[in-house]
Point group: C4
Chain length 217, copies 4
């Protein structure tokens, strides 16, 4: 299913369907979290900020220029504002060649980041589900970078750039943000969904093994 | 979506839809919990008491005078009685300018109140989701007042008035009731929903971090 | 909703709908658990044994004589066998005037029974949701009897009779069975549903407060 | 329901419906896990690998020769590859006379295997739900074999053969794989579903009783 070609309309509908799925999993509750997906090589479909994510319709999506983050076409509803993750989403897409990025506010991602303590990353190992991350084996010690939270979402950008440039994290499709959540990406919406499901499983597993409660939805 | 204007019929349907959502989240099980929403500046739509909340239809709702709590129009089904929360709902709406109040019986709210011990409040901090509470930053030490439970719901009113008047809790859109649950409000049904999702996330987070089980639905 | 009159067809459909609901809550998984409801003053609708409970249709139900437990009318599908709980269901209906009894295999009921240790009952207190049990206040020390499991379901009957006769448990609408589950009843299907939701909430609460994991569905 | 005869079309539709159910239970997330079912005495319906399991349609299924594992008929979509579990599925079907095998990636199965430590099996006892395993009583000390994970799925085959031949595990319809998941089977899709629900309940129960978190959801 990862390789199915999708029309732009299908792409927008799939993006909204995944938002509803993520809401049902408690990853984007309380209007938190978000998602974007490449519309074509130059532009990106992006959800609005501050809205109930499970209510987002294709006509609510922004089209954003992938290199600059500029809004190419806003939705008809002018009360909507583009996701605060806009610069982060574009940076991850450009530097990692990602076709879709999702932003999770799952409690399991917060508790997993807690486990990193003061370290720059969380090492995950001893789990078959690691194989669900593209290129990773179940024998890996998989390092997921963990950054500090900031008052505004866009202020995370400098730390995110550093982590994306750090060769120690070349295999990771995820960045954890302390007290906040995670950014997870893939080559398209379907791989972003798979990676989101894999990483949330890994978060829940390491938290459960550490004796804490991962509180999955 | 928070700013969409809703017809009265739409308002009643949205209120019932949110009750079904809250039921699915285990916040209003066993006929517990409730919700109200302003119909106009003078009257309020209110769910009945003692019924399975996920079964409530628009035609089951009471219309109540906002300042006095008097029933302006009962539903056709005369076996129904208005929510026991009526005086509490009206008090919160009038003193805080709220357009909607929900009452949760979630286990996570009971366990979060447990964490307050004998203190008058629960301090929540170090969580991005605090930004989902209107006016609150993720750097805040957010104080949520916690009151004692009473044999009858209406006997909570004196403690609730005191908490609403207490300037230490001016930023809170939530009052926790020990061994019982929480009252959570917003400017309209959509903000009440957002605040409900945010506060329940915060309850689950503080309980998980304290090593207890937040009992997700 | 508790007092709505239901046609026999409506009664059978409601019974099956509640089985699907209980399945979704993980109370009757793996073909475990069950439910019955009075058809009239002399007969009872009862689900078959050994089938996937969420798949049961009205035409799969048995009609059983309430006083003797004899099958008055089997379903057309002659491969079906009546619930093994038949004698227990009839005993509870007759001795407590119940109109409906449900049998839960929820993990939270097993873990709650664990908390009773070697005692004959589990005392539940300090929870508003106690008010959801008919006649019980939130100030009560509510005693729920706990019996030993037996190799066959029908062998539970002697212990159940003793508990139903014990005045210490006159206020309980629930009997816990160690390592097994719970029987929960009410005046009709709607009250049995309310009591089931209330008692499962109470089980999860006491287990969470004891530091164990209630593992709700 | 276990004995209902199903047309081949009905069989394929049921297999896909169970994949969606297992996905909703978090047993086959992130494209992990799988299922197969006998089409007739010589061939087997098998899901593809590396796809989102809840999206699988009857037309995506492979038909595989039961004794050799050779593909008899691939699906029209030639981008699909047969499940990596193919040799394991066929071996279990042939050696145990199973009509269906499911492969779970549930966190509860990983945590249950953790409990076995270095032992070759996990002993489960003191739970009524043991009766949901064909031929097992609630008085049993039920031994579920636990094997080591390997880099590739097919490398599990030698250990699985040994466990299937080991008379100590003749009563088990499940093999746990450390850090990975479980294989669970039955005489047909309905019994495989029942056994899957039973074993996952047992995993969650032993994990909860050991004080760990079984990750419901």
């Amino acid at each position: 299913m990862s390789k199915r070609s999708a029309s732009i309309k299908g792409q927008a509908e799939l993006l909204c369907r995944l938002l509803r799925l993520f809401y049902d999993k408690d990853w984007v509750s309380g209007t938190g979290g978000g998602i974007c997906a490449a519309k074509d090589s130059k532009t990106v479909l992006m959800a609005p900020t501050g809205v109930h994510k499970e209510e987002v319709k294709p006509s609510d999506l922004f089209i954003v220029d992938r290199s600059s983050g500029a809004i190419v076409r806003p939705p008809k509803n002018r009360a909507l504002t583009v996701s605060e993750c806009n610069p982060i989403f574009c940076t991850i897409m450009n530097r990692r060649g990602a076709g879709s990025v999702m932003h999770s506010h799952a409690l399991s991602s917060v508790l997993a980041a807690d486990l990193a303590g003061k370290h720059d990353d969380l090492i995950i190992e001893g789990l078959e589900m690691l194989k669900g991350v593209r290129g990773v084996s179940n024998q890996a010690k998989h390092a997921v970078p963990v950054i500090q939270n900031t008052p505004r979402e866009r202020e995370l950008l400098d730390q995110i750039r550093l982590m994306l440039e750090n060769s120690a994290y070349a295999e990771s499709f995820c960045i954890l943000v302390r007290n906040h959540g995670a950014y997870i990406w893939g080559e398209d919406l379907w791989e972003a969904k798979r990676h989101a499901e894999i990483y949330h499983f890994l978060f829940e597993a390491v938290v459960a093994r550490a004796g804490q409660n991962p509180n999955p939805g």
